[in-house]
């Protein structure tokens, strides 16, 4: 079966990280989200994959070209303008034949295990259009479905207000017939309306997904995705080219890639992932759910917990990075503190250009975009978003002036 991954969206709410990359190019739990999708697809028996690219397409095109020979027939299709999911899907119409069914995947979702196998199993049974459904932590952002006992979807309520609904929701994975393109066209490329019409006419069956599932909309959900993926790990791996000096303590599941150097006295509490070429300084404490990208440098005595750090980022000595996401090529000076809770333990709010958003989380640090430099001695307020490229001067208590 052919698969279509929609990865053209801007993901505006995911700033500062979506500003400089398409979401599937986030490296979470040591792996690009895109690569996680591809390996699940491959294991589910799919081998023809079309990726619709748009926003920041160069990075994804490069990755498609790099991955094309891993036993998958992988191609990209460009969406010229960012104009919605329906339009993005329309770009692959010529790749699907009349009468054919295809697997459709929203590129901003994460599942703990193989959701693509599951939906194909349901399709194998129903032999008609299928939508994957799941129970999310909150219902208001999704299409809420009503089912009958035969798993036919009878009604969809999009993005209901209030908290009265505890329905299963559409989880962004479908198996659809070629005729769906006609429905899309008829409904002016509105995905929601086309799905509605399919429910009312040809019918759409549901495939229940019970393992962890997440739609990454806000930057703090990158941390949830990281947790979901790391929790699915079953074993540790340490590259034979990694150098672990004396008195390095490791517990839990860890993934340590090639050419990593971990200096004496460091403690790693899994699950955590250390990308290739990373340097972990003496007496550092890398706590659970830390994901370091490739070629990062962590100075002496740094403490890290529950954070995602992208490639080529340096963290100066005696810093604390917790419940935070750091972009690529970020330069954190020494003694920088990401404060990760309010003094009164009220849930942290994240301030972005749209105002302050409730996260419901008691512990949350900072979201720092690519190429940011933060001078030594800064303490960063919980929930702070730093735009890409920003330079924050160091904080001195004594100066020579």
């Amino acid at each position: 079966m052919k698969a279509v991954i929609l990865a053209a969206g801007k993901g505006t709410n995911l700033a500062p990280f979506s500003t400089t990359r398409p979401l599937p190019m986030m490296r979470v739990a040591g792996k690009y989200l895109f690569d996680s999708i591809l390996s699940q697809l491959k294991n589910s028996g799919v081998n023809d994959v079309f990726v619709v690219v748009g926003h920041q397409k160069e990075k994804l095109i490069q990755r498609v070209n790099e991955s094309a020979n891993n036993g998958l027939n992988l191609q990209y299709v460009e969406q010229a303008r960012s104009s919605g999911i329906g339009n993005a899907l329309m770009q692959v119409k010529s790749k699907i034949s009349p009468g054919e069914y295809f697997l459709l995947i929203y590129g901003d979702t994460v599942a703990a295990s193989n959701i693509f196998s599951k939906i194909q199993q349901s399709f194998h049974f129903f032999k008609c259009g299928v939508a994957s459904i799941c129970l999310p932590p909150a219902n208001s952002m999704f299409g809420n479905v009503f089912l009958n006992a035969q798993m036919s979807i009878t009604k969809i309520v999009e993005k209901p207000k209030g908290d009265e609904m505890g329905n299963y929701v559409l989880s962004g994975v479908y198996i659809l017939p070629y005729t769906f393109f006609d429905l899309l066209k008829k409904n002016k490329l509105s995905m929601e309306k086309a799905i509605q019409e399919m429910v009312e006419t040809d019918g759409l069956r549901a495939s229940m997904w019970e393992d962890e599932w997440l739609d990454i909309v806000h930057p703090w959900e990158i941390l949830s995705a990281n947790r979901i993926l790391m929790d699915s790990w079953e074993e540790s791996s340490i590259s034979k080219s990694a150098v672990l000096e004396s008195n390095v303590t490791i517990s839990g599941t860890v993934r340590i890639e090639s050419d990593v150097v971990i200096k004496a006295g460091a403690v790693l509490e899994g699950p955590c992932s250390i990308g290739s070429g990373c340097y972990i300084g003496n007496n550092s404490l890398i706590r659970s759910y830390t994901s370091l990208g490739n070629h990062c440098s962590v100075g002496y005595g740094v403490e890290m917990k529950n954070c995602v750090v992208l490639d080529h980022t340096d963290i100066g000595r005696l810093s604390f990075i917790g419940d935070s996401v750091l972009g690529e090529r970020v330069d954190i000076g020494s003694g920088v503190m990401t404060v990760n809770r309010n003094v009164d333990w009220k849930p942290v709010r994240v301030k972005n250009n749209k105002g302050a958003l409730d996260t419901g989380r008691l512990k949350l640090g900072a979201f720092i975009g690519d190429n940011v430099a933060i001078g030594a001695g800064n303490t960063i307020q919980p929930g702070t978003v730093v735009a890409p490229g920003k330079i924050i001067p160091a904080r001195y208590s004594i100066t020579g002036k």
């Binding site: 589910s44 081998n47 009468g99 054919e100 194909q120 798993m151 299963y168 229940m208």
Partner: protein, 606 residues
């Protein structure tokens, strides 16, 4: 767009080939065909229509063969006619080919072959392939060489497969751009446009890539390069697939499927012939003493019946656990025993019934499995018609039995003139609302139940509390939790608490309380009182109630709110909620939901 499949094995493969091509129908179907080998040579069967229709019309399954290829077609070149249907044969009848893709230079090739004397019987692009195979085979007397030469001449896309009388034990296949896979099992080797063709038989797949061809026979396969003929070492890919799972029709487990089937099974119970329940009512009314007998879940169903019949018909029918029946029940020819069993094979229940009969008592049963031992043994039996219950844990069968006991209670009340016909019909109509309400609640409350179950799945001790008819609901709900999640759960009458159990309450003991609707005034007040007793000792209470949100502010630690319903069906609705709560706790704990440990579907041992 077409689908191709093939199979070769030690014994007859016609059934496997049929299933394979039927599972590829989603790739398009307007016509369909197969090629097989029998003692006389190649046999071709083809016709227009879908796979099932074609097989029936042509009586294909009567043809036995150890080797075969099949095709489901979605016409691209040539009309939908029998002549254009694959497989297509060479003029000498030695090659039969199925093909998915488009040969773009076929007009040119057709002319060329026509000049060589080949006659074309179809309008398809595909037909050039068998003719070329024949043409090149005549030159080289080598099938693989003929294949390589043929493919060299083709422009366009293809996944093709053929069988030939020259090598009747082998299937040949090749690929350029159109998908092709092999499926490798010990007994049979398969090929298909994708794994749907063979996934029911093997998860071991080999993906054929562009420019490769493969030769498969019953006990070997080789993959080679089309251009050089060099053998390629292909890894076997294990497809992540749970064959059992695809039978659950989109549900992750049978237990959840059966919970969701309850609106239908309740309807089935309510549609049961009136004379059957009347017969059971007669049996009860004519006896001096009637007993309700069950064991495990059905004992709690019996307890529910005991309360219901007492409430509705002012008649006390003791519920007795079947394994204790002989020790406890005093039966003679003036008494009767009404047994409840899903399977109708339960050893303990059958023993109790035999004992009752031996003492001259009348016997009756409500059973889900027609023709079972209990259904044949008793004087009167009601087949509840809930459909097969595959999950070892009973959900839909138990709920239907409770509904039937409620109906029996109402009929008994009518017979005793405790209620009039009008009141009786009103109550029956209330029961008839249950399926629709369960359906709505499953749709709109699953998420809340899941969230609470997922949040508290690590809790080690639960107390399930209810008063009156809600007490057996608490018992049965607690049993679900024990059976499927292996979590300690204890059902108890809420009034029992203050006689000792309260001493246990602390922050490690969690309680679930079944609150009646407010219209059931006394029971409602008394139950809320028990909640307060627990809260006063800082115990956790999950309240399952029918009040509006915020009505019992701060009374519950967590609440599951149900739409207002009549007291007659309220406990049944709460049981559905508790089934789901146990289910989601079990999935959070990663339990083997459909086959929990230490339990069998019907316990047929003593």
């Amino acid at each position: 767009m077409c689908g191709i499949s093939g199979a070769v094995g030690l014994n007859d493969i016609s059934q496997e080939l049929y299933e394979g091509i039927r599972n590829l129908e989603y790739r398009g179907y307007d016509s369909c065909g197969v090629a097989l080998v029998n003692s006389k040579g190649l046999v071709l069967k083809r016709n227009i229509g879908g796979v099932e229709e074609f097989y029936r019309k042509e009586n294909v399954l009567r043809q036995k063969s150890r080797i075969g290829i099949a095709h489901t077609r979605w016409a691209t070149h040539g009309k939908v006619t029998r002549e254009n249907t694959h497989p297509l044969a060479s003029n000498d009848g030695a090659f039969a080919v199925v093909h998915n893709g488009i040969i773009s230079n076929y007009r040119f090739l057709r002319e060329k072959l026509s000049r060589e004397g080949f006659r074309f019987k179809s309008e398809t692009d595909t037909e050039v392939i068998p003719h070329f195979l024949e043409y090149f085979y005549k030159k080289s007397k080598n099938v693989e060489a003929a294949l390589a030469k043929t493919v060299e001449a083709l422009e366009g896309t293809f996944a093709l497969a053929f069988i030939t009388s020259h090598q009747p034990d082998q299937i040949y296949c090749a690929k350029r751009e159109s998908p092709l896979m092999l499926g490798i099992s010990d007994e049979i080797k398969y090929l298909g446009s994708d794994f749907n063709a063979f996934i029911d038989h093997t998860k071991n797949a080999i993906i054929i890539e562009d420019g490769e061809y493969a030769v498969i026979s019953r006990d070997s396969y080789t993959v080679k390069d089309l251009a050089t003929g060099d053998e390629i070492d292909k890894p076997i890919q294990k497809i992540e697939w749970d064959s059992e799972s695809s039978k659950k029709g989109g549900y992750p487990h049978y237990m959840l499927k059966e919970i969701h089937e309850q609106p239908q099974t309740v309807n089935n119970a309510l549609d049961i012939q009136s004379s059957l329940t009347d017969g059971m009512v007669d049996l009860i009314a004519e006896s001096d003493q009637a007993y309700l007998v069950g064991v495990g879940t059905t004992y709690y169903v019996a307890q529910f019946g005991q309360y219901m019949i007492s409430n509705l018909a002012e008649e006390f029918l003791p519920a007795i656990s079947a394994d204790e029946f002989v020790a406890l029940a005093k039966v003679d020819k003036r008494s009767m025993a009404l047994a409840l069993s899903q399977s109708g094979e339960t050893y303990d229940t059958l023993t109790a019934l035999k004992y009752a009969k031996s003492k001259g008592a009348k016997t009756g049963a409500i059973v889900n499995v027609m023709g079972s031992s209990i259904s044949r043994f008793v004087d009167k039996f009601i087949h509840q018609g809930s459909g097969p219950e595959i999950c070892v844990i009973s959900t839909k069968a138990a709920l239907s039995q409770m509904v039937l006991l409620t109906v029996i209670g109402l009929k008994l009340a009518l017979r005793k003139k405790l209620i009039g016909k009008k009141e009786f019909q009103k109550r029956i109509n209330e029961l008839k609302e249950l399926p629709e309400i369960i359906h709505a609640v499953l749709n709109e409350r699953s998420g809340f139940i899941h969230r609470i179950a997922h949040q508290y799945y690590k809790v080690k001790h639960w107390l399930y509390l209810g008063r009156g008819v809600y007490y057996p609901i608490a018992l049965e709900s607690a049993l679900k939790m024990k059976e499927v999640a292996y979590v300690h759960a204890e059902g108890m009458p809420a009034g029992f608490l203050k006689h000792g159990t309260l001493a246990m309450i602390d922050q490690d003991i969690y309680s679930i309380v079944f609150i009646p609707p407010r219209t059931d005034k006394e029971l409602y007040q008394a139950t809320l009182h028990s909640v307060e007793e627990i809260r006063a000792r800082s115990g956790f209470v999950l309240g399952i109630h029918f009040d509006e949100r915020g009505k019992n502010k701060d009374l519950f630690s967590e609440e599951l709110i149900l739409p207002p319903v009549s007291p007659l069906i309220a406990p049944l609705l709460q049981l559905v909620i508790a089934q789901l709560f146990a289910y989601f706790t079990a999935t959070s704990l990663k339990r083997d939901v459909d086959k929990p440990r230490s339990l069998a579907k019907s316990v047929t041992v003593g």
